[in-house]
Amino acid sequence: MAFLTDRKRAEGWGSAKSGTRHFWSMKVSSVALLFLIPLFVFTFGSILGGTYEEVTAAFTRPFPAIVAGLTVIVAFKHFNEGFQTLIEDYVHGAMEKVLIIGMTCLTYGAIATGLFAIARMAL
């Protein structure tokens, strides 16, 4: 027993399956959003309210397009992981898996849609 490492003793028990991967992933995306959110809020905020021509022209510029693209990716990834925790806390059994899979489809779909839209305006 004395030769077992702490990690080996913990493996297979409770939430020890993937260790701190989920926690660390949320931490990385939260730090990224700390920079992206202010950039996105002020670029998007100044674009919203414009005419069709103004809006589409705004996203042909690199800065608003890249900030919006990055924000869509990181924000939906962060939501995906955060919402997974919410489901794991309150819903159990088959419905838990259904909701996590459904929410993953929704967030990945939103990322693809957002990137497509930005790319189409930018190019």
Partner: protein, 127 residues
């Protein structure tokens, strides 16, 4: 395994037993704001797709986002966004085992609530 008394045992006190406190309310609000933001996130993606599709589609999505209801929703989402951001910073601080004592945690709670309101009004003023 050794627990033969399953289903008929005293449970540890849960949420409903406690008086609402600043620390618990700010914690719950972090979760609520973060998850509620999906509504405006999806609306923004819809707005982007509409702008990339055609002037007619854009008119519909832009009409919704700039209506009084859209304004209200985006205003509340802006507050939720700043609240969640500040609460997230509080968590990043806590992750280093700093500020976990009650007086500091409560002080940070007031900073998160007050700061989110100030940032929201500042953003509206600037934009």
């Amino acid at each position: 395994m050794a627990d033969v008394n399953r289903g008929n045992r005293p449970l540890s006190p849960h949420l409903t037993i406690y008086r609402p406190q600043l620390t618990s309310i700010t914690s719950i609000l972090t979760r609520i704001t973060g998850n509620a933001l999906i509504v405006s996130m999806l609306l923004v993606v819809w707005w982007l797709l509409a702008a990339a599709t055609s002037p007619e589609h854009f008119a519909v999505a832009n009409g919704v986002l700039t209506s009084w209801f859209g304004d209200l929703l985006l205003f509340l989402s802006l507050w939720a966004l700043w609240y969640h951001t500040l609460a997230g910073i509080r968590h990043l601080i806590w992750d280093n085992a700093i500020g976990l004592d009650l007086p500091t945690a409560e002080k940070l709670g007031y900073v998160v609530i007050g700061g989110s309101v100030v940032l929201t009004l500042l953003t509206v003023a600037v934009i």
